[in-house]
Amino acid sequence: MKSLKKVLALVLVAIFAVGMLAACGKSGGGDEPAGSGAAPGGSGAVAPASEFKAGLICLHDENSTYDLNFINGFKEACEAMGLVEGETYFIKTNKGENEECYQAASEMVDMGCNVIFADSFGHEDYILQAAIENPDVQFCHATGTKAHTEKVANYHNAFASIYEGRYLAGIAAGLKLNEMIDSGKITADKAVMGYVGAYPYAEVKSGYTSFYLGAKSVCPSVTMQVTFTNSWYDETLEKTGAQTLIDNGCVLISQHADSMGAPTACEAANVPNISYNGSTVAACPNTFIVSSRINWAPYFTYAMQATKDGTPIDYDYVGTIETGSVVLTDINEAAAAPGTAEAIEAAKADLVSGATNVFDTANFTVGGQKLDSYLADVDDMGDFQPETEVIENGVFKESVFRSAPYFDIDIDGITILGDVQ
């Protein structure tokens, strides 16, 4: 026993010593790393001024489906333009919605970035501040609302008509409900969907309402319950929220929040899920049906090319199905109802041609009444005063008067449960 202990000790020492030697060999002398401390500022990222560079600031990192969607789109667009990560394009992750964001933007200006993107709604004020201070650099803020009123020449907002994508995903949900009704699993009046939303804010409301209208277009008896987490990313709350909805009798779940909380809760309870931001089929092979997402690559390409050419960038860019900005992921045939792909294709063609409008006032009621007129707070001046008539020819014109959504009406058929407890 005793000798065994000794041998073990010797072996451990030997392993450690070998490890040390390997380190010295690889890093060229153990004292060198410490020695490099003598030359601060030696490796500043100074590049020729003519070189085109781009930067992206993210609220979280790739563990958040929302940020991952931006990161992937950005990498795709940059690499298509021949940019290299760490040399001519940069990504800063986990930058909070405070001074950190401004600092990240300023540092990117110093790195020589010609165009800088930010992905979170709360980044807006800080990006705007950086834009005012650096008029030669273009700043593009996704999901923001202030560009069209602030009129700072190098500050731009962008969004996509994601409500169209949600609508198409809603059709997949409606067909799944029809399948359940036809197979006798539920009765038509029990076709209740659940929705885990982040905040009771126009972007989320517009999203779930279009999703609901998509489902309703194929399954007229559908109703929906909505609960809010009051966070864009909170895995526990999203999971709890989805579970509460399932316990309430919801037979299909969708979500607008950025973690894997809701999809994994659905997989555990074997309840079908319509996802957002990207496919979750790897983690949820039995329940994932389809996901809508914004593909940011077309916008990144557009803004970078415009910056490069010196042509103006729109104050408010709205990506659509036609520009390839609104896309659906592959359908998971294991969970989707038969014929889903064909039905989505048909509906998509109708949306593109203008034959159907998602927010056609003929398709929904508010308090039992058809809506003829609605004033929305499009000019977001902090006054909370709605000022713009957004219903024209019987259609609520979403993402027309500005890129960020402003549909914030509670329509019949959707029950707001309140916050996740």
């Binding site: 153990g30 790393p33 410490a34 601060p40 030696g42 919605e97 540092e107 501040q129």
Partner: protein
């Protein structure tokens, strides 16, 4: 034969004293070892030249003038909160509520900006914000201090819980004051009018907080080292019965010290809102109340060493962030390197306090 006296391979004794250059030698050795281990991991796990990684850490802090200012402001914020905690720790009062106290300071300052903008002149606004921030910070520190002094409750848990309370209160008011509606964010307050913004010195908004931090470090050094209050704090920390015996009013000292602690945290909150961030979010303090614990302890509560230790932590943090940007990782890789370096630095304290004695070879032959 094996029944003779056993000598363990290693035995440990407490060091009586250690000469300063040996202490520094051990510290430097620890950092070198940490860098070597980081080097191994960088080379074998992510296949990058570790020298490049260390260079990136340095350029992340000193790469441009702007970066140096950002780093200075970050350092100053952390230092102020650490300085606030130091006297309480010296008194052996485990104030883990620095985050909450600073956050309440932010809350006090932001509340004034939101509620009274336009109705009072700017100078009065700044005074009101300052007073409100200090008051809120003090309140958050004195509540657990009062319970400790009166009923000897556990201050570690109490101050910790007060952090969560502060976060929830701010989460609530962020919704009350949200702009635009439903967004649950306040954004920059008075971005156009700049009411309640501290003036920039020479067009640089970072100088002020750095000056405040340095002045505070000097004042805190004098206060702890040379004032009667400082002495009382030290005595209470060493032994409460002794303090009582020599006629120190322990309860009074506890309350007074925590009022000071809270006031300085409140000041940090005021500066964060009025001088740099101009907003209110639940994550504004960013865990500095906890990082400050490490800063204060590593420096043994000496305010001047605290400048050094807070620099170390800020340097690692900003360096790690730069690594993720330049090499295209997420923050985890930088966090691993930071963790290793901190592990070695904290671990070397063991070798500063204890001596290792290895079994001599000669003994074995006697056996």
């Amino acid at each position: 034969m094996y029944n003779t006296i056993k000598t363990p391979l290693v035995h440990i004794t407490r060091r009586k004293d250690i000469v300063w250059y040996r202490a520094w030698l051990i510290r430097i050795l620890a950092i070198v070892l940490a860098l070597i281990l980081c080097g191994i991991i960088t080379t074998f796990v992510v296949h990058i030249n570790p020298i490049e990684v260390y260079k990136t850490m340095i350029s992340g802090n000193f790469g441009t003038t702007r970066k140096i200012w950002f780093m200075g402001q970050d350092l100053a914020t952390l230092l102020i909160i650490s300085l606030a905690l130091a006297p309480a720790f010296r008194m052996r009062f485990w104030n883990l509520g620095g985050d909450g106290q600073a956050l309440m300071g932010c809350f006090g300052a932001a509340a004034c900006m939101i509620l009274f903008s336009g109705s009072v002149p700017n100078w009065l606004m700044l005074i009101m914000m300052f007073a409100a921030a200090l008051f809120c910070g003090m309140l958050w520190a004195v509540i657990p201090a009062f319970f400790k002094a009166k009923w000897n409750t556990n201050e570690t848990l109490f101050t910790l819980m007060m952090n969560y309370l502060a976060t929830q209160i701010i989460a609530f008011f962020v919704v009350v004051w949200e702009n635009p509606k439903g967004s649950s964010k306040i954004g920059i307050i008075n971005q156009r009018s700049r009411i309640g913004w501290l003036p920039e010195i020479g067009g640089n908004k970072y100088i002020l907080i750095i000056i405040v931090a340095i002045v505070l470090a000097v004042v805190m050094f004098i206060y702890m080292r040379y004032s009667k209050h400082g002495y009382e704090i030290a005595v209470v920390g060493e032994s409460e019965p002794t303090a009582r015996y020599v006629g120190i009013k322990v309860k009074k000292v506890i309350l007074r010290t925590l009022l000071l602690s809270g006031a300085i945290c409140g000041l940090a909150g005021f500066l964060m809102v009025s001088s740099t961030n101009h907003t209110l979010t639940t994550t504004l303090v960013g865990g500095r109340g906890f990082t400050g614990v490490m800063v204060a302890w590593l420096a043994k509560f000496n305010p001047f060493f605290m400048i050094l230790t807070s620099f170390l932590l800020v340097f690692l943090n900003r360096g790690a962030s730069e690594i993720s940007t330049m090499f295209g990782f997420n923050d985890s890789f930088g966090a691993i390197l930071t963790g290793i370096i901190l592990f070695f630095i904290i671990g070397c304290e063991f070798f500063l306090n204890y001596e290792m004695h290895f079994r001599k070879r000669a003994k074995k032959e006697v056996e």
